[in-house]
Symmetry: C2
Subunit: 335 residues, 2 copies
């Protein structure tokens, strides 16, 4: 590997993303990206008795789907990296308890999917051949856990985001013809003092900015190196903050930049306020939409920056601010 | 690296554990290992207003201590791997929000410390020079979150374990003279159907057994290769189960095997029933006690198997069983 600056690794052996899969919920199926998702559920329960069990099932079936689509025998997958938003990441541990692959649980809040792909890439650089990455979230289990019982029908403020019901999974391999993960820029925790748990975009945007600027500085690249720069789930408000911060720092990212939370829902028709969020947002938008664009060479170089808000319900009740983090990976169709 | 079997990696560049640090609570300070811990707190709050803030402070100060003890400048530490038992791992993210080092949040329940050292070792094999690993738990924040409000004064069944208040941290480096992490055997999720959230030892022992047998098989080693085999926090009941399972499989581990949860408390005097548990158990017993034994060459080869129960309070309420996981690392004073 080549270390660029303090936070970026350029790989000697860039892993190929062999295949991706995603399963999403009914609201996501009504959104503008519906046709790209592998499977859309008709309801949030999927025949299970609880939202948590439904989320575990989404995780499980998404992972089964990516293994099946990829044609990689599951006994060739050496490690699994997975996480989610539920307390103690139970969507992953229950969803994947039968997978029979060495398992590393990870928690990066909504940055989890890219955190997993970063770790898996370093494992491949270290010498392994194949790894699986997955992340999920569920609107109902998240609302219940982080905010209020859904049955209360609380009003949501305009800054709030809508947690995506869905999961994404990818298989990374030492062998293959791309798309390649060529670089990773792994983020530090950044806490600018935002305390409003209904404004995650504002809490996470400074972390995305820090990672993006570090990526440009470490690699010597500028926004126009990429066909697209995508953040995970800053939503409309966070996207605007990141655009402004970047502009003030001398980088005009307007022409290439968008956010997965902005792309996944139709703001006018779907009443999702500031856009989508959750581990499943970036995971499903990448696995469903962006990966296919890369495979078809409609996109040739992208920077995916997943952002996470590292708080919980108790920390907000105790008056704490919301630390953010952002992990970036460059995905290119040429090494 | 050399892959041994499907789950074990033997490193070409075994990382040195440069230094460790640990801070524990007052109950741990009354236990048999008190003299080995770097700092013992007089009470569970450490001047903070909540248990969660106290746990974050323990995490923060333990990490500051290991950086200070090691003499490694913090800007030479390339990555930090940390996790804990609190929902969304807030002890780590709040405790380390000022650390200014690229951060990977991990969740392996009580296996977190060894999970972090496993990931950091692979990063060093991949090419980086230095990483930090940390894990924490806190009796009061855990009881509140997983079981009942402490104020209720609920009786605890004899199978229950006492969550350790404490944190451990280690710095791993490409350079150094050992002790070395020579191998890792990373565990799969194992769920044998145990549903009693007050009997974690029984829930986790099958995972420890799976990883231990895999380690022996992959490496060709037998129990007598090691001066000590230590599980993370199976406690008395889990320790006995693992001993029995191993005996039935043809491995007599009696003479070298013990458990960190057994070592940390005095069962008779401290009323801790089946022993200690929590991410902080294995982390503080390793960082405080075992690491010093290795440095003094009183132990020359150990196998540390941290075990985790991948459940949460909701999953138990919903009638789910408890998936377990166990990650093992070999630590040897010679490469």
């Amino acid at each position: 590997m080549q270390k660029l600056g303090k936070q970026t690794i350029k790989f000697d052996t860039p892993p190929t993303i062999v295949d991706c899969a995603c399963i999403v919920g009914p609201k996501e199926a009504d959104g503008p990206l519906a046709k790209f998702f592998d499977q859309c559920l008709e309801n949030e329960m999927w025949g299970e008795k609880t939202w948590e069990k439904a989320e575990s099932k989404i995780m499980k079936e998404t992972v089964n789907m990516v293994i099946s689509k990829s044609g990689v025998p599951s006994d060739k997958i050496e490690y699994c990296f997975a996480g989610d938003l539920l307390n103690q990441c139970i969507s992953s541990s229950f969803g994947l308890r039968e997978i029979n692959i060495p398992f590393f649980g990870i928690f990066g809040a909504c940055s989890t999917f890219v955190e997993g792909m970063s770790l898996a890439s370093v494992f491949i650089e270290g010498g392994i051949n194949c790894a699986l990455c997955a992340a999920s979230s569920h609107f109902c289990s998240s609302e219940k856990q982080f905010r209020f019982p859904l049955e209360l029908g609380n009003q949501r403020p305009p800054t709030s985001q809508w947690t995506v019901t869905g999961a994404g999974a990818s298989i990374l391999s030492r062998d293959g013809n791309g798309p390649y993960i060529t670089c990773i820029t792994s983020g530090k925790i950044v806490d600018m003092g935002i305390k409003d748990a209904n404004n995650m975009g504002a809490a996470m945007a400074p972390a995305a900015f820090d990672t993006l600027m570090t990526h440009f500085k470490d690699t010597g690249r500028s926004p126009n190196y990429y066909d697209a720069i995508l953040t995970g789930d800053l939503g409309y408000i966070g996207r605007d903050i990141l655009t402004d911060l970047s502009k003030n720092a001398g980088y005009n990212i307007n022409s290439v930049y968008n956010d997965c939370g902005v792309l996944i829902f139709d703001k006018e028709k779907q009443d999702t306020h500031s856009g989508g969020s959750g581990c499943g947002c970036c995971a499903s938008v990448f696995s469903g939409y962006l990966f296919k664009q890369l495979k078809e060479q409609k996109l040739r170089r992208i920077l995916l920056i997943a952002t996470g808000a590292l708080m919980n319900a108790t920390s907000s009740q105790q008056g704490e601010s919301i630390p953010g983090i952002a992990h970036a990976i460059s995905i290119e169709i040429e090494k």
